[in-house]
Symmetry: C3
Subunit: 395 residues, 3 copies
């Protein structure tokens, strides 16, 4: 399908993305998600063909990373740059925020000439998404009161609940691997816990995956050792999505069983739910002793499940012994990045390039979230970009 | 008045801003300051109407923050971006400057392709403004010797003497609140010290306020506890300005008395003058013990004046019990950002949005300083921008 | 010669720079180097005449500084900005790289929408250049496998072997000082070790200088105290270059002797070769004790050669007592940046501005490396830029 045909197809969707933040996939309609995927695809194809989709003559995209990041940071910078915005990082160490400034105030102070704010805040259960909503409310007030000339759109770059730029990139990858969203119906995807020697990994990736993939008629298998539950409300969402979409949803506590006849596997470590809750409390009280003890507990608990490694034997249990392996990266690869980890080195190597392809969709997903937030009629603007026909490089 | 009328009005001013640094408001003529305000207003209106005032196809704006900053950092980034310059931060920790490089050399090394340098250096009395002038002299030499193709303009983002981007934004806010600069005549503005549990706040905001507002026929009331004097030379400037502009200038040491019938109040903490001088010496000698002792002395001294809080009772003394409250933010709000601070929480809340509006002028003030530094005939360039009619977002 | 004539001259060169990384000058042909110099000159002249050579509507240039930098960081930012790319810094402290991510993976993760990667990695003998080649191979694979839409070009911003953006800027400076590359024939250049109280300075500058200048028929004098050898393979390259170009190559261990009748002198400190090798091992083993002891040894050894300072007496030995003094900056200036250092303060002062001019070529050298990497036919694109005639500032 030509770019122009894709734009025409896009124009038939009824999306409600204009001026809306992108915080949680489950707050978005099917058409919204489809719209993001289609805009992402069009932007990617434009850039691949040296057509510049730049729509900002000037503009600022604020990044606020409250946790480390390489891939998402570069994806956000790439998306911003492609559309014509400069990235300005809010480095809370270099700012005066520690002086007791409220979220409400900072949100306005950084937004006078800003178009987007990308936020990663994934460390504490019950905190990250709340923070994003607080920022959003402050921006709403600032805009309503005439402080801000426009309301910057917020992109959730990972919170405690969801990681929508990741899960949507993953969905775009699946669409690409299986040919269409329709083809995902009836496919079995295993979101499995896997062993890692590291501590405190967020729950947002597995939560994001089950809540999103359950909307496409897939058979979701969520597998983890007893105790490694996800946030119950999000598991409920996934269950209901599965019912509605004609898929299925199952939880198991045995990695081998889970892998049987899987089309897609996503073996990835995450922290113990109740540990994460305790951790949030300890961090609030700055209880260093308590935190150290908790880390030991957590690592010791993880270590009981070293057999939760995705290896050749488990791969053999999957459909045609060749389920599509997915990971948000970086994976803990046994013998490469750690002694024992989430995945066997040979197995990972077989799918390595495909995990890179998977990651490569993220910049376009973010750009699509920005684009649809800013333009009421994205297909019309995309059409104008085609007519303008400006090269990204050279002339 | 339409943008075009504003541009025509601007063209009648006799400014001397072209190729001049903006370091101290009291080195600028009335027309200079008016020119900055008018250009800022025009740029703001352009952006509010989606007209892009971008005048650089490429260009660099260097930021050199020797102290923490959120608002000014974002204001500088916003201004640079709006005009088409990328911000490049001179992070003295990541550079080789610690290796004994002289200011003279660094100033040239960062300026080969730079258009502007924004500097914040407000920590040490007698140092910050001196540093900016040294940078300026180095750039003059570099340009004269053919090292630099053009002379980057310096914008003072706060020094030990003045904080001109703040005071000019404050003036723009007052102009907006009271309708015109002329309407400021005869208004009483109280620049008052206020209690803060923090140590070493610069003197540049109160100094900048009294030196600038005294030029518009206002009645300046400078209030502070004995000992919290400002730099005498700058107080003298304010006094002379008041005489010349037909206003008045008074110093008092009682917050209640000062507030009576005030039209505008600016309650804000600052450090003890002689303490700041001692501190500079101790810092030069890296006397950690001495610094710690000094901090204790300073905090203990501050604590004697906890009643210097702007509260409901003091507000009741002002004109119509409703003087315009101003602050450069972040304020130390009692019970919010600290136990006891500069302002009562309820009082602050009443004027909170207006302090945000006040802060919102800063990016445009900075952009106007850059713009007038770069173009000999700003009104002509602004006129061309109107004719070009390029949208900032979309097309 | 007009810009257009220069572009015509450029079109006659047979370069092989398109889609090639710029890692080592000795892997490049004479025409390649000439091409870089000529493009750099044209870009500089364009900018000096307010002609914008911007060729990217959007684009990313990644900087990866594994060692501190001011000048090269700003040169890279300036070059990227001039061509229209935004700089995105890969700060390995803020990223998840410490989590055991492989070079291969990171290289791809940061490159989905990147056009260039500038790398400084000069700390460890045998490591820096190897790292750059590893990144390059990862990008080759990523591009071949469809992960990357294009292959970002790598610019070596200093490694353990070469510092090509420095040596090429130095060559451009010499061309400028002596009128042409041809005029460099027969000139005596002394690359001399000099005393410094600092430890572990890379060998890449002296190596880069002898390997490059030896290609232009110059008489190379490499002078250093016994033990301060450079990498033997690179000295061999310089020797062979000298033979081929009709120049000469000599090593001496007496600074006075070396300086006699020199046209150009480059007195600069570097570390002991075998010390640097030991250091790499100690760093790999994180042997803090060993490192401290080694530093003492190294500084003590340096201190034996405090008379290796370029001073008035040595200057008097040079051609007309006025050899052109060069330095990559910052220099260790006796009595200015250190007690005793590489160069006497009065001597340095005499040539100070010329060292600034020397440094000023670097941004254009980097821009030329980027430009020739991206365009198969640089003269045609430059010609189009002239025809477009877009101003960099104003309109």
């Amino acid at each position: 399908m030509s770019i122009k045909d894709k734009i025409r197809k896009l124009s038939h969707l009824k999306t409600d993305l204009y001026k809306k933040d992108f915080l949680l996939t489950w707050k978005k309609s099917q058409d919204d998600l489809k719209g993001i995927l289609e805009v992402a695809e069009i932007l990617k194809e434009m850039r691949d063909n040296n057509i510049s989709p730049r729509v900002f003559d000037s503009g600022l995209a604020i990044s606020n990373f409250r946790d480390n990041s390489t891939r998402t940071r570069f994806s956000f910078a790439s998306a911003s740059n492609l559309l014509g915005c400069a990235v300005q990082d809010l480095d809370e160490k270099k700012s005066q925020i520690a002086h007791g400034e409220t979220v409400r105030e900072t949100a306005n102070m950084i937004s006078f000439l800003s178009d987007f704010i990308g936020i990663r805040d994934d460390m504490y259960l019950g905190e990250g998404n709340k923070y994003m909503r607080e920022v959003g409310e402050a921006l709403d007030e600032g805009f309503a009161q005439g402080v801000l000339p426009s309301r910057p759109g917020i992109v959730n770059l990972q919170c405690d609940m969801d990681h929508p730029t990741q899960s949507m990139a993953d969905l775009m990858h699946l669409q690409n691997e299986f040919g269409s969203l329709d083809n995902l119906k009836g496919k079995k995807i295993v979101m499995s816990w896997a062993y890692s020697p590291s501590y405190g990994k967020p729950l947002s990736v597995p939560q994001g995956i089950i809540a999103l993939m359950s909307r496409y008629g897939m058979n979701i298998e969520l597998a983890y050792p007893e105790g490694y539950d996800l946030i119950p409300e999000i598991v409920d969402i996934a269950k209901k999505n599965s019912e509605r979409s004609g898929g299925s949803f199952n939880i198991s506590h045995n990695m081998e069983d889970a892998m049987k006849e899987a089309d897609i596997v996503y073996p990835k470590s995450w922290a113990l739910f109740h540990i994460m809750q305790q951790r949030t409390e300890l961090l609030k009280n700055a209880d260093t002793e308590g935190l150290r003890a908790l880390e030991q507990t957590c690592l010791a608990n993880n270590a009981k499940f070293k057999n939760w490694e995705y290896d050749e034997a488990k791969k053999k249990l999957t459909k045609n012994q060749d389920a599509l392996y997915m990971h948000c990266l970086p994976a803990d690869i046994s013998g490469v990045s750690c002694k024992e980890g989430e995945v066997n080195a040979d197995v990972f190597e077989k799918y390595r390039i495909r995990t890179y392809l998977e990651a490569g969709f993220k910049p376009y997903i973010i750009a699509a979230m920005m684009f649809t937030n800013k333009f009421e009629n994205p297909s019309k603007v995309l059409d104008n970009i085609m007519k303008r026909d400006r090269r990204r490089v050279g002339f």
